[in-house]
Symmetry: C2
Subunit: 311 residues, 2 copies
Amino acid sequence: MITTLAGGVGAARLLRGMVRVVPDGELTAVVNTGDDTILHGLHISPDLDTVCYTLSGRNDEERGWGLAGETWTVMEALEGLGGESWFRLGDRDLATHLYRTQRLAEGASLSTVTTELAARLGLGLRVLPMSDDPVRTRLTLAADGHEIGFQEYFVALAHAVPVVSVTFDGADRARPGPGVLDAIGNAEVVVVCPSNPVLSIAPILSVPGIEGALRARRGTVVAVSPIIGGAALKGPADRLLTELGGESSVLGVAHQYLEFVGTLVIDGLDASSQPSIEALGMRCVVAPTVMHGPEEAAELAKVALTAGRTG
Amino acid sequence: MITTLAGGVGAARLLRGMVRVVPDGELTAVVNTGDDTILHGLHISPDLDTVCYTLSGRNDEERGWGLAGETWTVMEALEGLGGESWFRLGDRDLATHLYRTQRLAEGASLSTVTTELAARLGLGLRVLPMSDDPVRTRLTLAADGHEIGFQEYFVALAHAVPVVSVTFDGADRARPGPGVLDAIGNAEVVVVCPSNPVLSIAPILSVPGIEGALRARRGTVVAVSPIIGGAALKGPADRLLTELGGESSVLGVAHQYLEFVGTLVIDGLDASSQPSIEALGMRCVVAPTVMHGPEEAAELAKVALTAGRTG
């Protein structure tokens, strides 16, 4: 059993390599739901959808989110009615949200709905929401101390505003999703995907019990750094690390993950940081971490798994 | 001021004539919301939408519901996911439901949302939900005494099953929508559209205060019979009248409306029933009531208005 902690795009890329090197049925992804939002009455789970769409080959590679070959009839009509359309929902993507919302209203848990969708999309890996309880990532703006929701920050404001703190509303009352603690406790290796440490991995850790389960087996937990040469490939991870008092570097990531990650995989570009990371008490493996396609992702997956098995 | 009580298709047809003979701003439609339902988390108001789509010329004349030139991308994708798709929601129709649901979640009332949508569609008449509070039409099946919701009866079962009773869940706690009682009290003429007496008009009357307001000015209330030659042009009105102990005839309609309608407009086909209706103490006008187009609807509107003005 291999278990991964996953956010959106970066995680989905690595997972596309993981499924090439881990047999069907032996791979689990524990996915961030802190980005989930209710819009137009619909329950939207962006990271779960990014993972499922990417792993089923349905994602739009070029746009970086949503489904390939998507149409926008509903959004255009909604704009015509003067409705809120800053959060772009494609027609076929909407079907996923209608399905999820209907099933949740019928009493199904988010885990159950996710399993149903994953099965319908023909996925071989197991996809688990970090929690079936609502946990909502909220950010406090540096400019005026105003607190906003994740999607307002990420989409409406295009994450172009400095923040001073990030909180996970509801986390104190949330329980890990069914199977999550077992998936971590029983895994041969746990891989923390190259996702945003602040916005994708931290919400998973905010659910009581999950970080403890990782610490208990720190030696076999491997993280792939989402920071390469001081910058994030995509999204605001680099800025957020700095804004929240850390450092936008592989060393900054190592500090963030020190308590529960035994090995950090960093890119060759950052090889000079290897001694500093090891000096913290964290093993460090240098390997190509930029994934242009599934082949490179599979190579990176092998590196991470080997590191965890020898951890 | 002219006020109408309206269900879906039959009402929308007459209203299309009304707007030709009543100046903009002087016509109000009080619309049934007993058919409203929540599906996939979306608030759907079928009668409000039928009225608004038809009056804005956007309705699909041939299919009899929804928007003309509609596409079905979302529904097809939902079917692909194994989702519930018996209630067909077109792509552009969905935009209306997304808009309404979002605004309701923001705290806007159904009346406010309806006013916004009517304005956006360029409607000249005022469209008022019968109530901003939830009233849900429910039917008890003859076969097994099982109670089902309106849309399950009307759409899923294609209204092909006998019922023994109809109730309006929530009606006892519902208040008339803002402006409804004034629209009835201050109208020169109130016209009860040729809608289903049991499923479209009765829910409006079930809201405390509305039937009383009509009774208070019975002389100026005119109904157009939805039954012609013993049958409904569309839908189950004829069967329901019989199933619930009444009669599927203009006389049956007269009995149903006796307490609050001063004049019944019946089709020439039913002219022989005129004396029996007048014997009940209800005025009766004979006129062509089948509306093939807006011209005929305008003629029928004139007949109803004249009857009310001389009532």
